[in-house]
């Protein structure tokens, strides 16, 4: 595909007018604030915002020495590892069986993809309700079976709660991509293996799973980004980052420091760290897409 058009239009002003709306929006609401975050991350202001001074990298050094920030980092890492692993395994399982099914696969697909439409905050509320210690139906059943569930006090339970909500919400997406990936594997490969006597289990591990690896890797990146950025609403709705700060993921802490604790320097430095993380993920994602094209 050509990267340039041979036939173009001429106008000294029209292209600028066409670009203007997008450029105004990204200038005002993307680049200016991002620049502000960079500047503020190098400054410190007092509580009333009356005096501002340059402090170099001190905000970053403070973050590095801030145990709650480091804890928030590891919380986010644990959260994303759990969501990615559980979400990918479950949806791969479903996709493999949906790929096998001859009749009714369309219906299964329809019935599995709609959670994508549910807002993360609503997903958080749904799961919170089922697992609420005093009224939840699941926590009631767990208690009947002798398991004391308390996501308000036990941080493992709180983490389990947000992991379930996040996985539930993301299964639809993973499922669709795995199913598309499985369906694009040539049937002749599977048939050849079957003629050679490979059973379905063996065929899955030595043909389908390796050939799916680009899809799996792509989904891994997407899921980690999803946990980093989009699960704020799940956390805020289901646990408020609690108990204590035990489910306070990076974006939640950033929000808290900026709008509840009003610590401008610290929150700007956290913004910059997050930006850096997002840039790394985006680069990984695009390098991978390029690779897939050259396959």
């Amino acid at each position: 595909m050509a990267a340039e058009k041979r036939v173009t239009f001429r106008s000294p002003w029209l292209p600028w007018v066409l670009l203007a709306p997008q450029v105004v929006v990204i200038g005002l609401f993307f680049f200016w604030p991002a620049g502000q975050a960079l500047v503020q991350s190098l400054q410190q202001s007092d509580a009333f915002g009356t005096s501002v001074q340059w402090v170099g990298l001190e905000n970053f050094r403070n973050l590095w020495n801030d145990e709650t920030y480091l804890a928030s980092f590891s919380t986010t890492a644990v959260f994303s590892a759990l969501v990615a692993f559980l979400g990918l395994s479950l949806s791969l399982l479903l996709a493999v069986f949906a790929d096998r099914v001859v009749t009714g696969s369309g219906i299964y697909r329809t019935l599995l993809i709609w959670p994508y439409a549910v807002a993360p905050a609503v997903a958080g509320v749904l799961w919170l309700f089922m697992f609420a210690p005093s009224v939840g139906i699941v926590s009631y059943l767990l208690r009947e079976w002798g398991f004391e569930w308390d996501s308000l006090l036990n941080s493992r339970h709180a983490m389990a709660l947000i992991v379930m909500a996040a996985v539930w919400k993301q299964i639809a997406y993973n499922f669709l991509f795995f199913l598309a990936g499985l369906q694009s594997i040539p049937k002749s490969l599977i048939e050849a293996a079957a003629i050679d006597g490979a059973r379905p289990w063996r065929r899955f591990w030595s043909i389908q799973f390796p050939l799916l690896s680009p899809t799996t890797f792509f989904l891994l990146v997407i899921n980690v980004v999803y946990v980093f950025l989009d699960t704020f609403a799940i956390v805020d709705a289901a646990t408020h980052g609690g108990p204590g700060k035990d489910t306070s993921i990076l974006v939640y802490k950033l929000y808290y420091d900026a709008f509840k604790a009003m610590d401008l320097g610290a929150s700007a430095a956290q913004s910059v760290v997050l930006m850096f993380i997002v840039v790394v993920f985006t680069v990984i994602q695009f390098r991978f897409v390029e690779k897939k094209v050259n396959y």
Partner: protein, 283 residues
């Protein structure tokens, strides 16, 4: 299938049906709760079949006459706010991306690629990483608690611009030449040739962006402080007060059902474009 293995076929159906049930369970429980009086919910176990308060609960939340320790704003109004915001975000993103992709592909002007990359880089600046300074800009512009504040900062779209650019590059030059010979100017060509050709991409993007707009949480949480500008997703959160016992779960769950309904309908009714949109926006 390669060979006949009836047991495996049955197993596949069993696994899929289990999957469908587990995926549907939270919504079923939500639905049941939304039809119960609060008393039935706060003394567990809650009944697992629909109760008799369906009409009461939904009418109460839609008109804002429900009880509860948290916010009791009318959900009917919130649904309108959500609908307007989601439509403005989806249509706005598609429109400004179509225009900028058209400018970048069909014109030659200084800094053309600079603008393209500037738009592209916004992919790496999601609202989550720059919340405080963006909030300040919006508040300085007096856009708090307005539709403009809820939508315009979210309207830029690197993915949509990129997608339309890719698509325009595949449109044959002969079409451009033919319409030029017929005397069509650039805007005429854009409106009568390019936009109709992009119909399926537009439909696919619309589905994805409508859901994105409807489901926004962090941004509306910051820029709306007055109840009459809450989108429904924020409204639910505000209805849950302190401990679980004081929350009127019946009405909260009715609100949750209402909040899920429009985007779920969009996905189910426009499934083909939804799938295309998901796949396209990740390229």
């Amino acid at each position: 299938m390669v060979e006949r293995r009836p047991t495996l076929g049955i197993l596949a159906h069993v696994v899929l049906i289990l999957g469908v049930l587990v995926v549907a369970l939270p919504v079923y429980i939500t639905f049941v709760a939304s039809t119960q009086a609060n008393d039935a919910i706060i003394h567990p176990p809650m009944p697992l079949t629909p109760g008799s308060h369906l009409v009461d609960n939904y009418k109460a939340v839609l008109t804002g006459t429900q009880e509860g320790g948290g916010s009791t704003a009318a959900v009917g109004r919130m649904m309108v706010v959500s609908l307007v915001s989601a439509l403005v975000i989806a249509i706005g993103k598609i429109s400004i991306s179509l225009l900028s992709a058209f400018a970048i592909v069909y014109f030659r002007f200084p800094f053309r690629m600079f603008f393209f990359w500037a738009i592209f880089v916004t992919l790496m600046l999601p609202v989550e990483v720059r919340i405080a300074p963006t909030y300040k800009v919006v508040s300085d512009l007096g856009m708090l608690n307005t539709y403009a504040g809820l939508t315009i900062p979210l309207i830029a779209s690197a993915t949509a611009t990129f997608l339309f650019r890719q698509f325009f590059l595949t449109v044959p030059d002969e079409l451009t030449e033919a319409s030029r010979i017929d005397g069509a100017g650039p805007l005429r060509f854009f409106w009568d040739v390019l936009v109709p050709l992009s119909r399926t991409s537009i439909a696919a993007l619309f589905v994805i962006q409508f859901i994105y707009g409807w489901n926004q949480y962090l941004w509306p949480l910051l820029v709306t402080t007055s109840e009459d500008m809450y989108p429904v997703v924020i409204g639910i959160k505000r209805m849950i007060s302190g401990g679980d016992a004081q929350t009127e779960w019946g009405t909260v769950m009715a609100t949750a059902m209402l909040a899920m309904l429009p985007p779920a309908l969009v996905v189910l009714l426009m499934q083909r474009w939804f799938v295309k949109g998901l796949v396209d926006t990740e390229k």
